[in-house]
Each structure stands twice: as structure tokens, then as C-alpha cells.
């Protein structure tokens, strides 16, 4: 199977910058797969996200989406293949109502009015925005504004979805909603799956999540790409890498809290990756009995 996203030796240097922001990064993401890109501030995470979404052109190497090199595509053709949600929702909310915001992308993709209305209704339902469709996005609280920003991109149904720091400012329940939604999208049942909707069944989405939240990464990612100074420091299974305290420390990252606790108790750090499951509860309880 062809990878939905394929990066080959991608490098990018901002004009006037002394060193590349992204240097020789290679990685691939299949349909239905979630890749978390992690690294400390300045490691090149957001730049890589912009390269994948076609907002920046690599100086060297190539970005292929569905087998097609982005260099051969016009911006509006890229918009149909990859959608990016920025870190600050204010940077991408352009219209004066949530309804217009959700309609903007589908309209620009050339959908007719009925199809646009169906997309808006389905997306609003999936993201619990039906009650605020006529509000101005800037009047909404930050977490709701962020939900609008994600929904506005998802309304275009891009086969590749890039999310830059999507958990910033969200509470635990909102992050759990986001995790559930990403799982549904990457699994292909679609964010607005509704038997009564006439829209065609969405395909499994490839999701690339840029995040500094390793607890969140552990809850959704199949694979992890660890960046340090613009280069790949580690790339592999998320569950294995998030338990690799030394590899994370080498990239300047702090492992998730339960991984650090497991390490301190000298029990298997892998038990701490996904959250407080039965295995780590039993292991810690045994420790308590022994201590």
C-alpha cells in the first residue's frame, strides 16, 4: 500500500536564518494512521507541519501526498489533499459566523450550495457546534473557538489532516473528545457518520499531530516522530518510544507522568504510556504492599 504521506529528505531554511529549521527529515504516514510529531520548542515541529500542508516548499527533498509530489500542485489542489489546523485559532478564523466559517472550505472546493449546507450541518453536529452556528467566532470561549477551527478544516474532508498543538487550552474532557474524534476519523467511519446523510462514506484519514503533550500523544498516536534541532532524533512505535526515557531525554523531552513514576519505581515504563490501566495499578499496589 502506498503511504498517504511520504517525506523524503525534506529540508527547509527560513530566509535569513543561520541554520535549517527542518533538516533531511524522512517519514511516512499510511491511511488510517496517526503520527505524533514531538520535540521541544524550536525543534522544527510546526515548520514540518507547514511543509506537509504545502504552506512552505522544501529547499531539498520531497513531500508526496497520495503519491503526488506537492511541487506539481497548485495551492487549491493541495487544499483538497491536506488540511492544517493552526496552533492559534485566531490565525485561521476569517468570517463573521461559525456557519460561514464551516462553509468556507467546502465552497472553495467547488461544492454546490446543497452539498455545502449538508457539510456544515454534519460537521456542526459532529463537533457540537449546532447551537452556535450564528455566533461570531471571536465571541466564543477559546476551547470552542479551537473546536470551530478544527471543524472548519474537517468540513473539507481532507485525506490528510495536520493538527498543530490541538490540545492547548483544552480541559481533560475536551481532549478526550478530540482523541475520540481523531480515532473515528483515522478509522474511516467519519466525523459526521450519520445513516440519514446522503454524503459518501469518508475514507480513513491520515492524521499528523504536532504536540508537546506526550500524555496526549500516548493516547492517540500509532507512531512517534521525535525531532531535535530540525532533525529526526527517533522515529518508531509510539508505545515503545514514549516508554524510552533515555531517548526522550536526549531530545529534551519529559516523559509522561506515569512513565516517570514507573521509572522511579523500577517497573516497566511501558505500563505508563496509555494512562492508569489495570497493569500499572496492580504493579504500583504490589509496590505499596512491599514498601
Amino acid at each position: 500500500m502506498t503511504a498517504r504521506v511520504e517525506l523524503r529528505g525534506v529540508s527547509y531554511t527560513y530566509p535569513g536564518a543561520p541554520r535549517p529549521a527542518v533538516a533531511a527529515v524522512s517519514a511516512s504516514v499510511d491511511a488510517g494512521e496517526v503520527l505524533a510529531v514531538v520535540g521541544e520548542s524550536g525543534s522544527g515541529k510546526s515548520t514540518l507541519a507547514r511543509l506537509i500542508a504545502g504552506l512552505l516548499r522544501p529547499d531539498a527533498g520531497s513531500v508526496r501526498l497520495g503519491g503526488t509530489d506537492l511541487r506539481g500542485l497548485r495551492p487549491r489542489d493541495i487544499a483538497g489533499r491536506a488540511g492544517i489546523v493552526f496552533q492559534h485559532p485566531n490565525h485561521q478564523l476569517l468570517t463573521s459566523s461559525v456557519r460561514d466559517e464551516l462553509a468556507l472550505g467546502p465552497r472553495n472546493l467547488g461544492l454546490d450550495a446543497d452539498a455545502v449546507a449538508a457539510r456544515v450541518a454534519g460537521t456542526a453536529r459532529a463537533f457540537r457546534l449546532a447551537g452556535v452556528l450564528d455566533e461570531h467566532p471571536y465571541r466564543l470561549a477559546l476551547p470552542v473557538r479551537r473546536r470551530v477551527a478544527v471543524a472548519a478544516i474537517v468540513a473539507m474532508r481532507p485525506p490528510v489532516l495536520v493538527l498543530d498543538e490541538p490540545t492547548a487550552g483544552l480541559d481533560a474532557a475536551e481532549i478526550a473528545d478530540l482523541v475520540a474524534w481523531i480515532r473515528v476519523a483515522s478509522g474511516g467511519t467519519g466525523p459526521d457518520a450519520d445513516p440519514s446523510a446522503s454524503a459518501a462514506a469518508p475514507m480513513p484519514v491520515s492524521v499528523i499531530v504536532v504536540t508537546h503533550d506526550l500524555r496526549f500523544a500516548g493516547s492517540i498516536a500509532d507512531r512517534l516522530l521525535v525531532l531535535r534541532g530540525g532533525s529526526v532524533a527517533a522515529h518508531g512505535s509510539a508505545s515503545a518510544l514514549l516508554a524510552d526515557v533515555d531517548a526522550l531525554a536526549a531530545a529534551g523531552l519529559e516523559p509522561p507522568p506515569l512513565v516517570r513514576l514507573a521509572e522511579a519505581l523500577r517497573i516497566d515504563p511501558a505500563l505508563g504510556v496509555a494512562g492508569p490501566g489495570d497493569a500499572i495499578v496492580d504493579a504500583v499496589r504490589a509496590h505499596r504492599g512491599a514498601g
Binding site: S41, H88, P143, E254, E263, P276
Partner: protein, 282 residues
């Protein structure tokens, strides 16, 4: 001696709001205290911080009843200049708070407005540039900094005036954990070294756990719990509808259901389990 912050029966209703944003909130906070203000989205955290500075109702219209005193001043009627000598706030969208053309001018802005002597001002700005790790950005335009750098700058601008009350609304939302620790370390140092009262409203309870010794847990505009952190987390763990506790406290609650006190950092957990620390908390 009266505590620096005294809130009694504070109720805030926004125009058209179905239920009050804050509903009969009472608490006090004294010098040197670092209080985490936590709760699910909509709990009233931001409204509480804004009401402590009079932003609600003076800039954001609302019907406010009850009493708020900060260093004995009523923020609803005290002049902005007098309030600024006592209290500082960092809002959850820091880029909207930055107005100057360079990082250095941004840091000096608050001090200039307070009439600080030039020599003292230069010294404090230089000190804060170092402490906040912003020395390399001294001549940069704040609007061109990354989200994390802007957030650090906004916090530094609040710290440099050495307020007796520091209010931080989601100060680490855009930061990686290392920068988040740096920001909260700066804020808690102000409490430790200068006796300031610091209120931190955040969703990042894993990070907060290392800094807040006391928690105000809000829900639906009301105070659900007001305890030292270990007892407050035990209270949160016993009420799954309130909010999610830090990962370590959540695990500890499963290990020992019904415990009256829960650890929320690795160091607390290893002590709680009666074992030596094997890995350092940052």
C-alpha cells in the same frame, strides 16, 4: 491582618447568560501563597481572575454582586493606576497583551507607567530578560516571536513590576513542558522570595502539581473544593463529574480508593508509597 485577597459572596452574571458565571464564591488568599484555580471549561476560572482585577465588570460588562478586596482595594472602584501597583494579570491570549515594538520596551512599559526611576528600570528589565530567558530577543518585535516566546514575555512583563498579586490565566497552554516549568518557576519564585500571592488558572494539572500548594476547584461557577493540593485532588478523584485529576493522582486513587490525600507528582508518589526516589521530578 487581613489577607491580600478577600472574596465574599461574589456572583457574576453576564448579559444574556442563562446561569451565573460565578455563583456565591468566597475565599481568601494570603501573602506567599500559590493557589491553583482549576475546573472544567466553563467553571468560572477566567471570570474569577478578571473580577479580581475589575476587568469584569469594567471592561467586560456584567452584573456583579458580593465583595472583592485586593490589598484592601475594591477593584470595581479603584483607579487603574492604583490597582496596577498591586496586581498584574496575564490573559490566555498573550499576543493581544503585547503592544510595544521591541521586547525590551515591552518589559519597560509597565515600569514606565508606574513612574519607576530610569536606573532602577534598566536594572530590573535586564534582570528579567535573563530570568525569563529572553536576553537573545531584546531587540526583536514581540509580534514576531513564537507563541511560547510571547507567553514567556507576557509573564515576564507581569513579573517585572513585582506585583503583590499575580494572576495567570492558562500561562503554559502554548509552551513545551520545559518552558512551562520555567514560567511557573518564575511565578512561584515571586511568591517564595517576595511574598506575592499567585493565582494560576490552568488545565495543565500535571504541570501545576509541582507548583501549587493549594487548590481552588471550581465547577459551574461555584467553589467545589478549597484545600491543600493533596486533599483537593482526593476530593476531585472522589467526584468523577468535576474534572480529571493529574495522572499521578488518578493512578493513586485507583491504587488506594477513598484515600483522604493523594500525591500528584512523582516525588510525592514515591514518598507516599514509602520508596526512595529513583528519578527526579523537574
Amino acid at each position: 491582618m487581613t489577607p491580600l485577597v478577600a472574596v465574599d459572596g461574589l456572583t457574576v452574571r453576564y448579559p444574556g447568560g442563562a446561569s451565573p458565571a460565578l455563583d456565591d464564591v468566597s475565599f481568601t488568599a494570603g501573602a506567599g501563597e500559590v493557589v491553583g484555580v482549576v475546573g472544567a471549561t466553563g467553571a468560572g476560572r477566567s471570570t474569577l481572575l478578571r473580577a479580581l482585577l475589575g476587568i469584569v465588570p469594567r471592561l467586560v460588562p456584567a452584573d456583579v454582586t458580593g465583595s472583592v478586596r485586593v490589598a484592601g482595594l475594591d477593584p470595581r472602584t479603584t483607579g487603574v493606576a492604583d490597582l496596577a501597583r498591586v496586581a498584574a494579570i496575564v490573559l490566555d491570549d498573550p499576543e493581544t497583551q503585547l503592544s510595544q515594538l521591541t521586547v525590551e520596551e515591552e518589559l519597560a512599559f509597565g515600569l514606565e507607567n508606574l513612574g519607576t526611576q530610569p536606573a532602577d528600570m534598566r536594572h530590573r528589565v535586564a534582570q528579567m530578560l535573563d530570568a525569563a530567558g529572553l536576553a537573545a530577543f531584546v531587540s526583536r518585535n514581540p509580534q514576531e516571536l513564537s507563541g511560547g516566546e510571547q507567553q514567556r514575555l507576557a509573564v515576564a512583563c507581569a513579573l517585572v513590576v513585582r506585583p503583590r498579586l499575580l494572576l495567570l490565566d492558562e500561562p503554559v497552554a502554548n509552551l513545551d513542558p520545559r518552558s512551562g516549568h520555567a514560567v511557573l518557576e518564575l511565578a512561584t519564585a515571586l511568591a517564595r522570595d517576595a511574598g506575592a500571592t499567585v493565582l494560576i488558572a490552568t488545565n495543565d494539572v500535571d504541570l501545576l502539581a509541582s507548583y501549587a500548594s493549594r487548590l481552588l476547584v471550581l465547577g459551574g461557577g461555584r467553589v467545589l473544593a478549597d484545600n491543600d493540593a493533596g486533599r483537593a485532588w482526593a476530593n476531585v478523584a472522589a467526584h468523577p463529574g468535576w474534572m480529571a485529576p493529574p495522572a499521578i493522582a488518578g493512578l493513586a486513587a485507583r491504587v488506594d480508593p477513598g484515600a483522604p490525600w493523594l500525591p500528584s507528582t512523582v516525588a510525592e508518589a514515591t514518598r507516599w508509597l514509602g520508596v526512595e526516589r529513583g528519578a527526579a521530578d523537574p
